[in-house]
Amino acid sequence: MIDVLLAGPIIIGALYLLYRSLWKQRGYCPRCDSRTCPVKLDRKNP
């Protein structure tokens, strides 16, 4: 039971991190910090 209580949040956390970094932020590329990131521009000017 303790194992499930520990493993469950870890798996959910990993899945969320994957979703957030890959899908929501659409990955990370060298231009993300350079103000040229098209993803950020899209978000700013939908």
Binding site: I2, D3, L6, A7, I10, I11, G13, A14, L15, L17, L18, R20, S21, L22, W23, R26, G27, Y28, C29, P30, R31, C32, D33, S34, R35, T36, P38, V39, L41, D42
Partner: protein
């Protein structure tokens, strides 16, 4: 100057325009403290970008426009720049002019002045002007153009406070500048004046929105986009053929009006240059020309390119490898021990300790081990870009690609793909033709991005240690050659069409400053560390569970990931790596290519045996000493240069286990086939998202994946089966 805002005063919008590679982004970075992408090759800025700062109490919004040679709407850069300048009407334009190339840059200046906005000219690279012994009469240039001209050296911040002060002053003058001083000749100006008069009469109020003389020029050029934008009807377009002054102009010059206007602008730029620029004697052949005689030579150009790339990989490994050993030692030794000790002290269950050591350290740690190599390679690629060599590499390859019927400009995004495929995909925006854009995007995944380097380094270290640099160089070159082959196939099937002429600017050679090299190496390389802390961490954790589910499974082969690998393994049997471990690694590698290595680290990793643990102090001392040794080794490798460093990793017992297991399962031949498959098989998940974003459809990602998988399988098959037939082992 400081970034930020000042609420007390109205923001002045300053648009920064200029030719490609005139140093606009460097100038903005220096003024606003931002880190826009910079490179000593054209086309770094494709979309417009913004930065905010306060100068002398005045809030300023700087807009970095794409580099263009003109404002004619032929390429996407030109359309973006012109639309912004005409529609948004910034308060001031800063025209960044490459002072070493005055005549060509002044052509754009002419067009900017036609827009009748306040302009300040930044004469950039002024240090090089002095070095070359050129003398520019600034006062005469100011008088001729009717605008302020400020000499600058953007890379060192010289002249930038004066430039911003001039921009603020120009911005406070109410938006309109004094009438243009330069004229394009009596006939042309008379024709333009007659059209301007008609515009004034027929469209009262139009002058509030657009400079009428500019619209008159656009009417003469037949610029449909500009005419539609200004809502001019067919009647206005018909004036061009009916106005007497225009008829006279046409009849007295045997050329179309667009050509006449271009010629007039070139004429003014050339004449002005002659007036204000004094050159030293021409007997001295400049260094750039001398170097270009070799580097751009028809016969030597490609061998020089191949040699330059080989040197990049050689030096990458000479410099990076000692640090790979060091990071490897830290992760597999002290860090694993400390983590185990901490979790044991916290009375954590055994599986949690295994997740932390085998899953997180075995996965993320294995990827991070190769970060020094990635940084070393990014450093040398940045050096080549900053020196001006990469632009020449594109020029040399342009010639070769044209011979094969491909568009040479495609090679620039492909070279960017050596760093990361994602920005390379975005760089395809610089291509005018949509077909060329898609075609180039389809070829980019064949370039070896930095993420594939850990896989190459792991396998070459185990199987080709003495020739690691050469083997990896071959893989990179194989990617380019296969991209060219696929390019020809696509060009003759899916993307038939003419290749537009590729006019490439060749910047002068420059020695980049160490600071700028460090900044841009960090900018390029840091996302590999961020990836390791985000989705590689997430996948490593999930992979650990997949390797340990059903809960309590004894053998990893019987786990969920093991079963998946076993299901796919037969596909890879003819390629020499039909083991479930290799198949599983390739599947997870779809998320990011480094994960191939992370997966292998977990699959082959064994639970650490209890061992006598050194004290924390001993560990810290050992880490510091081994780092010192790595620095010494890297230094001696680079000094003694060629032929010294190998990728034979100094393994400690833990990493030795799983590397031994790899050596048992692979032969040099099957390892080479595996590397070729990894190079080619499919774009990673982030690149997939970039395809969707850039083209609005999954179709091209689907095609890139489909042909990539087939190509990878065939090439690996040829390597493995061909090698066996040649008796090179099994």
């Amino acid at each position: 100057m400081r970034p930020g805002s000042d609420r007390g005063r109205e923001t002045i919008t300053v648009a920064v325009a200029g030719n490609p590679n005139s140093g606009k982004s460097t100038l903005i970075n220096a003024v606003a403290g931002t880190r826009l992408q910079v490179g000593n090759w054209p086309g770094v800025t494709v979309e417009k970008k913004e930065a905010h700062l306060v100068h002398d109490g005045h809030p300023i919004r700087l807009v970095d426009l794409p580099g263009t040679y003109s404002l004619s709407p032929y390429s996407q850069e030109e359309i973006i720049a012109r639309d912004y300048l005409v529609q948004d009407q910034p308060d001031v334009l800063i025209d960044v002019v490459d002072a070493t190339n005055l005549e060509r840059n002044l052509y754009l200046t002419m067009q900017l002045l036609e827009l009748e906005r306040p302009v300040v000219v930044a004469l950039n690279f002024f240090d090089e002007v002095r070095k070359k012994g050129l003398v520019i009469n600034i006062q005469a240039l100011e008088e001729a153009l009717g605008v302020r001209v400020v000499p600058t050296v953007a890379s060192r911040g010289e002249g930038l406070p004066e430039l911003m002060a001039a921009a603020v002053q120009a911005g406070q003058n109410g938006g309109r500048r004094a009438p243009r001083k330069l004229a394009y000749g009596e006939d042309l100006e008379r024709a333009a004046q007659s059209l301007e008069d008609r515009l004034q009469e027929r469209y009262p109020g139009l002058a509030e929105r657009y400079p009428l003389r500019w619209l008159a020029y656009k009417l003469m050029e037949g610029d449909q986009m500009a005419l539609q934008e200004a809502n001019l009807d067919a009647e206005a377009a018909a004036w061009v053929s009916s106005a007497a002054a225009v008829k006279h102009l046409k009849s007295s010059h045997d050329e179309d009006l667009e050509g006449l206007l271009a010629e007039a602008r070139h004429g003014v730029a050339a004449g002005l240059t002659r007036e204000v620029l004094k050159r030293p004697g021409w007997s001295k052949v400049e260094l750039t020309e001398r170097l270009d005689r070799i580097i751009l030579n028809r016969i030597l150009g490609i061998p020089v390119f191949l040699l330059a790339m080989w040197l990049v990989f050689k030096l990458t490994f000479d410099l990076g490898n000692p640090f790979v050993d060091w990071v490897d030692g830290v992760f597999s030794g002290p860090l694993t021990r400390w983590t185990t000790a901490l979790l044991t002290w916290l009375a954590a269950p055994a599986w949690l300790t295994s997740l932390a050591t085998e899953g997180v350290i075995g996965g993320v740690g294995t990827v991070l081990t190769f970060v020094p190599l990635i940084f070393a390679m990014m450093f040398f690629i940045t050096l080549l870009e900053g020196s001006g060599y990469m632009a020449r590499a594109a020029f040399v390859m342009d010639r070769a690609m044209h011979l094969l019927g491909l568009h040479g400009k495609s090679f620039i995004p492909m070279l960017l793909g050596f760093g990361c495929n994602v920005p390379a995909l975005y760089a395809t925006r610089a291509l005018e033709n949509p077909k060329d854009k898609v075609l180039t995007a389809l070829l980019i995944p064949l370039m070896s991005c930095g993420a594939k380097l850990p896989v190459y380094a792991l396998f070459t270290g185990l199987f080709f240690a003495a020739h690691a640099g050469t083997v990896i160089w071959s893989l990179y070159m194989a990617g380019i050659v296969l991209a060219m082959v696929m390019g020809i196939i696509f060009k003759r099937t899916l993307f038939r069409g003419e290749n537009p002429l590729f006019v490439m600017e060749l910047p002068p050679y420059r020695l980049p400053t160490l600071k700028s090299l460090m900044i841009h190496t960090w900018e390029k390389g840091k996302h590999f560390i961020i990836k390791a802390g985000t989705y590689i961490l997430a996948v490593s954790v999930l992979m650990w569970f997949l390797l340990h589910l059903p809960w309590g499974v004894e053998d990893k082969k019987d786990s969920v990931l093991g079963k998946l690998g076993q299901g796919l393994a037969p596909i890879f049997q003819p390629l020499g790596f039909g083991q479930w471990q290799a198949a599983s690694s390739l599947v997870t590698g779809f998320v990011a290519k480094e994960i191939v290595v992370a997966t292998m680290g977990q699959i082959y990793g064994k639970e650490a045996e209890p061992e006598e643990t050194p004290s924390l102090g001993d560990d810290v001392k050992d880490i510091a000493m081994s780092f010192g040794k790595a620095v010494m080794d890297a230094g001696s490798n680079v000094v003694s240069t060629f032929g010294v460093a190998t990728l034979a990793v100094e393994e400690d017992e833990k990493t030795k286990d799983w590397r031994d297991a790899l050596q048992e399962q692979f032969t040099p031949l099957s390892a080479l086939a595996f590397l070729a498959f990894t190079l080619l098989y499919m774009p990673c998940m982030v690149t997939a998202v970039a395809y969707k974003q850039e083209f609005g459809t999954w179709k091209w990602f689907g095609l890139a994946t489909g042909y990539g998988l087939i190509l990878a399988w065939l090439v690996a098959l040829i390597i493995y089966q061909g090698g066996k037939l040649l008796g090179l082992g099994g």
